[in-house]
């Protein structure tokens, strides 16, 4: 790093380029003077800062932006065996135009994946989304700080477990050799294996999400609740509102913006439902029930080595997702919320 230039101050850098401005501006925040400096002077002044962002920028360019170009294989009959190097293979693979996309839209497995994705998304919306809100209201109404602290510590914990572990735990509970089967068999019933049942798979997946992340989800609601002014509660109480009416007229309105924002963002992310989680259980349940768009891409690309086809499916999903996210943000802005980025 540029330690050699350490006794460098803004004033000094500026003094070299623009002496008159240096006086009187000493110690003033950068923002005010930025306009007066030339590009080269600003570059000189901020070169250390720019250097600091460089590693992150490089990582993002290489691993987030460069692969976008790789999506051209969606328009190719990509042959991975042309060369060990993917780029060389891309350059020598024949172009097929929209053939891959045509195949996708005629593929019933693709539509099955679309259906599963949407069903899972709606199920999670209905069965998962309200739980953190209810839990947050409950925790918030607990007055004793110690009880709160312990409950929060326990509820946050599963969020930090890996999906592998969560699914392994569920298998020990509900699998063929799990504690539930064990209990049933001990009482003379047949054991049952929920982990491999395609019929109940979507509920299983939702239950796993609830177990892992519902507790973590309360954080943002608790923060919103903590910012409600106690004066509002007092005023409501003075007007004769009981605790339920106070919850209805003070607490819930305070949560409304957060709920709306999270809902909108979730809808924007509708096509992405628990890739790792579902991939881990795909083999046990079979693709009929467990295939979602992400696993469809993985299966066709990584497993079947049909890269062009998988990339085309990924591209379709990516484009629709991008549209959904942008639309969701737009809606968030219309509601007066900040969304992921500022207007």
């Amino acid at each position: 790093m540029s330690h050699s230039t350490v006794p460098r101050t803004d004033t000094e850098a500026e003094a070299k380029e623009n002496p008159p401005a240096a006086h009187g501006a000493a110690g003033a925040p950068r923002k005010r003077r930025a306009g007066k400096l030339g590009l080269r002077a600003r570059f000189r002044r901020d070169r250390v800062l720019l250097l600091m962002t460089l590693p992150a920028v490089l990582l993002v360019l290489v691993f987030n932006y460069v692969p976008i170009l790789g999506n051209v294989v969606a328009f190719q009959e990509y042959d991975p065996y042309i060369s060990d190097n993917g780029v060389v293979s891309i350059l020598h693979s024949p172009w097929v135009g929209l053939e891959n996309f045509q195949r996708i839209f005629e593929d019933s497995a693709f539509w099955n994946a679309v259906r599963n994705t949407l069903v899972l998304f709606f199920l999670q919306l209905v069965l998962y989304f309200p739980i953190p809100i209810l839990l947050a209201l409950l925790i918030n109404s607990v007055v004793r700080p110690r009880v709160r602290a312990i409950a929060q510590a326990v509820l946050y914990l599963p969020h930090f477990f890996s999906w592998v572990l969560v699914i392994a735990v569920f298998q020990q509970l509900f699998g063929g050799a799990g504690i539930l089967s064990q209990l049933l068999r001990a009482h003379g019933y047949d054991g049952l294996d929920i982990m491999t049942d395609p019929g109940t798979f979507k509920f299983l997946v939702t239950a796993e999400s609830v177990w892992k992340d519902a507790g973590w989800g309360i954080i943002v609601f608790l923060a919103a609740l903590a910012s409600v002014s106690p004066d509002l509660y007092e005023a409501a109480a003075m007007d004769g509102a009981g605790r339920w009416r106070r919850m209805w007229h003070v607490t819930l309105p305070a949560l409304r913006p957060v709920i709306a924002l999270l809902l909108v963002l979730r809808v924007g992310d509708a096509l992405t439902v628990g890739f790792e989680q579902i991939l881990l259980q795909r083999d046990a349940v079979g693709p009929g029930a467990a295939e979602v768009l992400d696993t469809f891409v993985w299966w066709n690309g990584v497993r079947n080595q049909d890269f062009g086809y998988a990339a085309a499916a990924g591209l379709v999903k990516g484009v629709i997702s991008l549209g959904l996210v942008l639309a969701a943000n737009k809606v968030a802005h219309l509601m007066g919320e900040q969304g992921v980025y500022k207007k």
């Binding site: 923002k31 925790i139 326990v154 914990l157």
Partner: protein, 311 residues
């Protein structure tokens, strides 16, 4: 202003409820019991499975056979399963790999993220808006699994631990959280250090970082948990069985019911319970996270909130 009346403390010590404001009616018995019950059940739903896993991993083969599978009430405690797993072989190697990848990866991610967050936190610096847009845009799209896979292969990262670290090294969200914190540090403090002759590196190291300990702890935990829990990149890019980290070994062991290399014989001859071995691997995977996260948790709320993006 809220009026507060003194309520005689029902219990002493830290369990006591703080005094209630005068207008708030004390909770009824049924309400209190209901709340307690729901919270208790929620916590039980989380802790009971973990309890079974831990207890079974510590049980002898006989205790497991007697229980007919998983053990709920511990009878005899034995560490055989852990001894076997940690006495060399596949699981030991996987655990060491996981620890190393997590340590190196977290350090790398934090270094890159903190530098970037500081670089973007001084308002008015050259190009910080453009760089921010470049990073933010990645929150809206992903290039897709297949192109990323082809890229990592073309870069020659296959069968290298770098494939576990580089592609997912930084999270833009984490950088934004750090940046939000850095921006809240008083400008006067930084300016005065600058006048005293400190450069940006020194300001970051000696002023900004010590003042942001809380958020740095949270983000470090996030990154560390990410590396510790990751298995997908390893399953994509590592072909060599001997290089697999702990999570991937756990998949083979618990999901596919494959005995770890070297232990299969001991399980077959009946010295060791296969179930106890599985549970012990699960405990190894959950222990570091369960031990570390409570220490950081008091900062969670703060960290998550400053995450609100400021353009």
């Amino acid at each position: 202003m809220t009026a507060v009346i003194d309520e005689p403390a029902r219990t002493s010590g830290r369990w006591a409820a703080p005094p209630r404001p005068a207008w708030e009616e004390p909770p009824g018995r049924a309400g209190l019991a209901g709340k307690g019950l729901v919270l208790f059940l929620a916590c039980l739903a989380i802790l009971f499975p973990l309890w079974i896993v831990v207890v079974t991993s510590l049980s002898s083969r006989r205790a497991i056979d007697e229980a007919g599978g998983l053990v709920v009430i511990p009878k005899s405690i034995t560490f055989v399963a852990y001894q076997e797993l940690l006495s060399g072989g596949q699981v030991t190697r996987a655990a060491v790999i996981s620890v190393l990848v997590t340590a190196v990866g977290t350090l790398f991610s934090m270094a890159v993220s903190v530098l970037c967050a500081y670089g973007l936190s001084r308002s008015g610096s050259l190009g910080h808006r453009w760089i921010l847009m470049l990073l933010l845009a990645t929150m809206f799209f992903s290039a897709g699994l297949i192109p990323t896979y082809l890229l990592v292969q073309s870069l020659g990262l296959t069968d290298s631990y770098l494939a576990l670290i580089l592609p997912s090294a930084i999270s833009v969200f984490n950088i934004l959280v750090l940046r939000g914190f850095f921006m809240n540090i008083s400008q006067e403090l930084i300016d005065s250090a600058r006048i005293d002759g400190a450069g940006d590196v020194r300001i970051l190291w000696q002023i900004v970082m010590p003042l942001s300990r809380a958020v740095i702890a949270v983000i470090t935990l996030f990154y560390a948990v990410g590396y510790w829990s990751a298995w997908f990149n390893a399953s994509l890019y590592l072909n060599d069985q001997d290089m697999l980290p702990l999570q991937n070994v756990m998949i083979q062991l618990v999901q596919k019911q494959e005995a770890p290399v070297g232990l299969g014989q001991a399980i077959k001859t009946g010295e060791l319970s296969g179930l106890a071995v599985q549970m012990a691997v699960m405990v190894m995977a959950l222990l570091p996270v369960a031990v570390l996260s409570p220490f950081v948790q008091k900062h969670f709320k703060k960290g998550m909130l400053t995450g609100a993006v400021k353009g």
